[in-house]
C-alpha cells in the first residue's frame, strides 16, 4: 500500500499562494471577513507561514498544511477516533464522528487543524461553486487537509475502470496540480523510484519540527546550495 507524501522545494516556491486558492476551491473551505480573520477564524487548509529554515537567514514563506505525520500527536488524543491515521498514511478526519472538543487542534504543534466556529456560509449565488466530491463541514467539527483524498478515490475508481494499476500521475492534490513554479511534488514515499522518495532523501530535505517525533510526510527542501 502506498504511503503518500509531499515534497515542497522552497528554492522553487515563490510564495504566490496559488496552492492556497486551489485548496480553498477544491475543498469547499468557506471565506472569511476582516472580523473573522482577526478573531483567528480564517479557514485555509494550506497557508503561508514565515519560518526560519536551516541555512537561510531571513524567515522563509513556508506553505504549511497538515504534515500528515506518521506519528500524529492529534490522533492519539481524539476521544472518539474521529481523527486517525489511515492505512495509506493520510491523517483523516471523520466529521460525523467528531464531537468538536478541539483536543486535536491543541495537540497539533503545526496548528493546522481548523474548527468550524459557525455554520459555513456562502452567498446564495455561490452555491454551485462547491465541489460535489467534498462535503461541507457542519458547525462544531474539526476539519483539515486530506491530501485531497477524494481525488485518490476517484483516481482509483478510474484506474480500476480502465483495468490498470493506479499510477503516480493519476492522483495529485489540488495544490500540487496548480503550483506554477512546479515546487511541489507528490507521490508514494515507499516507492524508492518515485520522485518524492528521491527528493525526500536529498541533502536539502528537512521535515519541519521533526525533533518533536511527529515524523511528517510533508518534506521541505531548504533554499540555497
Amino acid at each position: 500500500m502506498a504511503r503518500w507524501g509531499l515534497v515542497i522545494d522552497l528554492d522553487r516556491c515563490t510564495a504566490c499562494q496559488a496552492c492556497v486558492v486551489a485548496c480553498k476551491h477544491e475543498n469547499n473551505v468557506p471565506f472569511s471577513t476582516p472580523a473573522t480573520a482577526a478573531a483567528g477564524r480564517l479557514m485555509t487548509w494550506i497557508q503561508l507561514v514565515a519560518v526560519e529554515t536551516p541555512s537561510h537567514g531571513a524567515p522563509t514563506a513556508l506553505p504549511l498544511m497538515c504534515q500528515q505525520c506518521d506519528r500524529p500527536p492529534c490522533t492519539d488524543v481524539c476521544p472518539t477516533s474521529a481523527t486517525y491515521l489511515n492505512p495509506e498514511g493520510i491523517v483523516a478526519q471523520i466529521y460525523p464522528r467528531c464531537i468538536g472538543c478541539r483536543y486535536c487542534t491543541n495537540a497539533c504543534p503545526y496548528a493546522v487543524k481548523l474548527f468550524n466556529w459557525h455554520t459555513p456560509e456562502w452567498p446564495e449565488s455561490m452555491a454551485p461553486l462547491k465541489n460535489p466530491d467534498v462535503s461541507v463541514r457542519p458547525k462544531g467539527v474539526v476539519e483539515k487537509c486530506t491530501f485531497c483524498h477524494h481525488r485518490l478515490m476517484r483516481a482509483r475508481e478510474q484506474a480500476r475502470a480502465d483495468g490498470r494499476e493506479l499510477s503516480s500521475e493519476d492522483y495529485v492534490p489540488a495544490c500540487v496540480q496548480t503550483c506554477p513554479a512546479e515546487a511541489m511534488v507528490f507521490g508514494d514515499l515507499d516507492d524508492p523510484n518515485s520522485e518524492v522518495a528521491v527528493l525526500a532523501a536529498s541533502s536539502r530535505a528537512f521535515r519541519w519540527m521533526e525533533e518533536l517525533g511527529t515524523r511528517p510526510k510533508v518534506v521541505y527542501l531548504r533554499e540555497g546550495e
Partner: protein
C-alpha cells in the same frame, strides 16, 4: 409545577421516541411513475449515471419523451406538456444519503457489480413511486457488505 414538568417530560420522550420509530416523512413525486411497468428497460436506461458517475441521476423529461411521444394515460396532457417544456429534472430523490457520505454508483455498480436491489430493495417492482426509502440504509448496512466482500473498511474511504 410538578405536573407541567411531567407533561413536558412525557412529551419529549414521545417526540424522540416517535421520531426514532416512525418512518421518515413521505415523498410525493410529481408523476406517479410505475417502475414495474417499465421493467423491460434496464435501470441504466433512465438512471444513466450509474455506470459512469458517482450519482445515479434522474432522467430528464427528454428521456421520457423518447418513448412517450404524447402524455401517458395517467398524466394530464397539460401537465406533461409543461414538464416537457420546462426541461428540469423534477424527480425527488427518495433514497438519500447524508452529505458526509461518499457513495459512488460507478464503483459499486459498474466495478463491483453490486445489484441495484442491494440498496434500493424492491423499487424495480413497485407499481407506484415509494413514499420512503425502500430500504433503510445505515452505516452498518454498508459495513456488513464491505466486511463480507472484503472491501476497504477505511473510514475515509466513504466519509468525505
Amino acid at each position: 409545577m410538578r405536573r407541567a414538568l411531567l407533561f413536558t417530560g412525557v412529551a419529549c420522550i414521545a417526540a424522540i421516541g416517535s421520531s426514532l420509530i416512525l418512518p421518515a416523512a413521505p415523498v410525493t413525486q410529481v408523476l406517479a411513475f410505475n417502475h414495474a411497468k417499465h421493467a423491460a428497460l434496464t435501470c441504466a436506461g433512465c438512471h444513466a449515471g450509474i455506470q459512469t458517475t458517482q450519482r445515479a441521476g434522474f432522467p430528464s423529461p427528454a428521456v421520457c419523451a423518447k418513448c412517450h411521444a404524447t402524455a401517458p394515460a395517467s398524466v394530464a396532457p397539460a401537465a406533461w406538456e409543461q414538464l416537457q417544456t420546462s426541461g428540469v429534472r423534477f424527480w425527488k430523490p427518495v433514497t438519500r444519503l447524508p452529505e458526509h457520505v461518499m457513495f459512488s454508483h460507478r464503483r459499486h455498480v459498474a466495478l463491483a457489480r453490486l445489484a441495484c436491489a442491494s440498496c434500493h430493495a424492491d423499487i424495480g417492482e413497485r407499481t407506484a413511486p415509494p413514499a420512503r426509502m425502500p430500504r433503510r440504509l445505515v452505516m452498518n448496512t454498508c459495513l456488513a457488505c464491505h466486511r463480507a466482500e472484503g472491501a476497504s473498511e477505511d473510514c475515509a474511504g466513504c466519509h468525505r
